[in-house]
C-alpha cells in the first residue's frame, strides 16, 4: 500500500520539478523516489496478509516480491534514460511522472482484492503506456503505434469490463474472496454466466500481456514506441499482468480448474508457436524482441496453466530473469542503434550489431549474456526460470505441453544466437561507443544478476 500512496504523490512532485530551470535534477529525483518506494514496500514484509483501502487491496509477501521486481526494473529503466538529454523535444518531467503513475497501476493489479481495483489499476497502467508509446511526436511510427495500441487496448478493456460485470452478475460480489467462496460452494454447478465472465475477463488480461491470439498489436507497438518505453512495456506491464492473472486464477477459480485449464492450455500453445516461429523471420532486432516477449508470455502461461504449489515461485523467478535480460538487451540496442543512426533513422536490425565485440567487448558480453538468458541456456537466470516453469508443469502432468515448449525453446535459440553471431563473428565498422558511467553500472549489474541467479538460483528463494 505504501508505495501506491508514495508514488502517487511523488509523481506529482516530479511533474512540478519539471518547472525548475535545470532539468538535471529530474533523473536523480526520480531514482531517489523509486528507492523510497522500494524501501516503503517492505514495511509490510512478513506481516502475513494485510488488507487495505476497505479490503480492496491485499498485501502479502508474494505481492511485495512482485512489487519489488517491478520497482527494480523501473529503477534500471529510468537510470538508462539519462534524463532524455539527447532528445530536443523530450518532456522529461512528464515522462518520469507518467512512469511513476504507471507503477501505481502496476501495484494495484499485483495486489488487488476487488475487481474494481483490478480495472482501475489496468486502466492507469494502460493509459500511461498509450501516452508513452506516442511520446515521440515527430515520428510517424510512434504515432501509429500509439493509435493502434489505444484503439485495441480500449476494446480489450471493454471486453474485460464486460467480463467483470458478468462475474458480478453470477456471484453478486466484486471481492475475490467472496467469488472464491461462491465458486467453491457451487463447484461445477456454478451459473453459466460465471464461465462467460471469467473467459471475457481473461481475454482482457491476456491482451495486456500479449498472449496469442490477442498479440497482434505487440510487434507494431513495441517497434514503433521509443526503445526506452518499449523496455518499460515489455518488462513492467508483463510482470504485473502475470501477477494479476495468477492472482485471479489461483485465488478465486481453483475449484473450477477443470473448466479453464483447457482454454488456457490452448492459448499457451498458440502463444508459444506464434511467438517463436514468427520471431525467426524478423530482420529487426527490436521486432524480434517484441515476438520474443510474446513467446515469454507463453512460457509464463505454462506456469499459470499448471497452477501447482511451485507456480508462484516459478512466475516470480521467471519474471525477474526475463525482465533483467530484456532490460540489458534493450540497453545495448539503444546504444548501438543510436551510434549506427543513418540520416536520422536509427538502425535496429541485427546487422547493427555486426562487429560489436571488436571495439566494445563489454557491450557484446552484456548482449550475449542477455540473449543466452532469454534463450534459456544453463548458467544464466533464464535457464532456471524455464526449469521452474517446466517443473510446475511436470507436477501437473502436462507433459505434452512441455514437448511443445521445449521444441519452441530450441527454435528460440536460433533467433537469439543470431544477435550473438552478429556481435562476435561478423565483420562490421562499428566504432567505440561511449557509455555513460551510470549506464555502464546498470548494464553490469543486470548482467551480474543474470549470471548470479543462473549459478545460484537458491539465493532468490532465500530472499523470499
Amino acid at each position: 500500500m505504501y508505495p501506491i500512496v508514495l508514488l502517487s504523490v511523488l509523481g506529482i512532485v516530479v511533474l512540478f520539478l519539471g518547472f525548475m530551470k535545470s532539468k538535471s535534477v529530474l533523473l536523480p529525483a526520480t531514482l531517489l523516489f523509486l528507492v523510497l518506494a522500494l524501501a516503503s514496500n517492505f514495511i509490510d514484509w512478513n506481516q502475513g496478509k494485510v488488507l487495505y483501502f476497505y479490503e480492496m487491496l491485499a498485501v502479502n509477501n508474494l505481492t511485495l516480491a512482485f512489487n519489488a521486481i517491478v520497482l527494480v526494473s523501473a529503477f534500471m529503466i529510468v537510470a538508462m534514460t539519462r534524463g532524455f538529454q539527447d532528445q530536443e523535444e523530450a518532456q522529461p518531467a512528464e515522462y518520469y511522472g507518467i512512469m511513476l503513475f504507471s507503477l501505481v497501476g502496476a501495484f494495484m493489479i499485483i495486489g488487488y482484492e476487488h475487481l474494481i481495483m483490478l480495472f482501475v489499476g489496468i486502466e492507469i497502467l494502460s493509459v500511461s503506456m498509450y501516452i508513452l508509446t506516442g511520446s515521440d511526436k515527430s515520428n510517424l511510427r510512434s504515432n501509429e503505434a500509439a493509435l493502434k495500441y489505444f484503439l485495441m487496448g480500449a476494446f480489450a478493456t471493454g471486453i474485460m469490463l464486460f467480463g467483470i460485470a458478468l462475474l458480478y452478475g453470477a456471484t453478486g460480489s466484486f471481492n475475490l474472496t467472496d467469488i472464491q467462496s461462491y465458486v467453491s460452494i457451487q463447484g461445477r454447478g456454478v451459473s453459466y454466466i460465471l464461465y462467460a465472465g471469467l473467459l471475457l475477463l481473461l481475454i482482457g488480461m491476456l491482451f495486456k500481456v500479449s498472449a496469442a491470439p490477442f498479440h497482434f498489436w505487440t510487434p507494431d507497438v513495441y517497434d514503433g514506441a521509443p526503445t526506452i518505453f518499449t523496455t518499460f512495456m515489455s518488462t513492467i506491464v508483463k510482470t504485473a499482468g502475470f501477477a494479476a492473472i495468477f492472482r485471479l486464477l489461483s485465488h478465486s477459480f481453483t475449484p473450477i480448474y477443470s473448466f479453464w485449464w483447457i482454454t488456457l492450455a490452448a492459448i499457451t500453445v498458440l502463444t508459444l508457436l506464434v511467438g517463436n516461429i514468427i520471431a525467426v523471420y524478423q530482420n529487426s532486432f527490436k521486432r524480434m524482441l517484441a515476438y520474443s516477449s510474446i513467446s515469454h508470455a507463453g512460457y509464463l502461461l505454462i506456469a499459470v496453466t499448471s497452477l501447482s504449489p511451485q507456480t508462484e515461485n516459478a512466475i516470480l523467478f521467471y519474471s525477474l530473469a526475463y525482465s533483467i535480460a530484456t532490460i540489458s538487451a534493450f540497453g545495448v540496442l539503444m546504444l548501438v542503434s543510436k551510434k549506427k543512426a543513418l540520416e536520422g533513422q536509427v538502425d535496429e536490425s541485427y546487422a547493427a550489431f555486426n562487429g560489436l565485440a571488436a571495439q566494445n567487448p563489454l557491450l557484446a558480453f552484456v548482449l550475449a549474456v542477455s540473449m543466452l538468458s532469454l534463450a534459456g541456456i544453463p548458467l544464466t537466470a533464464g535457464f532456471w526460470g524455464k526449469f521452474f516453469v517446466f517443473g510446475s508443469a511436470v507436477e501437473r502432468g502436462l507433459v505434452w505441453m512441455l514437448v511443445v515448449a521445449v521444441l519452441m525453446s530450441a527454435v528460440g535459440i536460433y533467433y537469439y544466437f543470431r544477435a550473438i553471431i552478429a556481435a562476435y563473428l561478423k565483420e562490421g565498422d562499428i566504432g567505440k561507443i561511449r557509455i555513460a558511467p551510470f549506464y555502464r553500472i546498470i548494464l553490469v549489474v543486470a548482467t551480474a544478476m543474470t549470471i548470479l541467479f543462473g549459478l545460484a538460483p537458491g539465493i532468490f528463494e532465500k530472499l523470499l
Binding site: I12, L15, F16, F19, G172, S191
Partner: protein, 124 residues
C-alpha cells in the same frame, strides 16, 4: 442475495428487447411505405438554418480548442463528485472532509500545473 433466478424471470427483458427492436423496424418500414419520396439536388443539400453551404466541414481547427474542451470536461466531471459529498456531508464526518480536501488538493495541483504549462494562454 437471491441467486435462484429462473430463465423465465428474464422474460420482461426479452419483451423489452423485442419491443425496442420491433419499434425501430416498424417505423422504418412504415415511413418508407407511406411517405412520398422526391429527390432533387436542392433537397439533398445539407440544411443549416437556410444558409448556403460553404467549403468543407473538415477544416483544421486550432488544437487549443480541443485542450480547453478536454480540460473543461475533466474539471466539470470532477466537480460532480462534490455533489454527493455535499449531500452526505453530515454522515461522512471528519474523514469525509479530509478525503475531499485531499481530492481538492490533487485537483488544484493539476490546475496549477495546467496554468504553469501555459495551456490556458490563448495568444501564444
Amino acid at each position: 442475495m437471491n441467486t435462484t433466478y429462473l430463465p423465465s424471470d428474464f422474460l420482461p427483458i426479452v419483451v423489452q428487447f423485442g419491443l425496442a427492436a420491433g419499434f425501430i423496424v416498424l417505423t422504418m418500414i412504415v415511413t418508407h411505405r407511406i411517405g412520398p419520396s422526391r429527390k432533387s439536388k436542392m433537397k439533398d443539400d445539407p440544411f443549416e438554418c437556410g444558409i448556403e453551404v460553404k467549403g468543407d466541414a473538415r477544416t483544421p481547427i486550432s488544437v487549443k480548442y480541443f485542450l480547453v474542451a478536454i480540460l473543461f470536461v475533466l474539471f466539470d466531471v470532477e466537480v460532480i463528485f462534490m455533489y454527493p459529498w455535499a449531500v452526505n456531508f453530515q454522515n461522512l464526518g471528519m474523514l469525509g472532509f479530509i478525503e475531499m480536501l485531499v481530492f481538492m488538493a490533487l485537483l488544484l495541483s493539476g490546475f496549477y500545473y495546467i496554468i504553469r504549462k501555459g495551456v490556458l494562454e490563448w495568444e501564444q
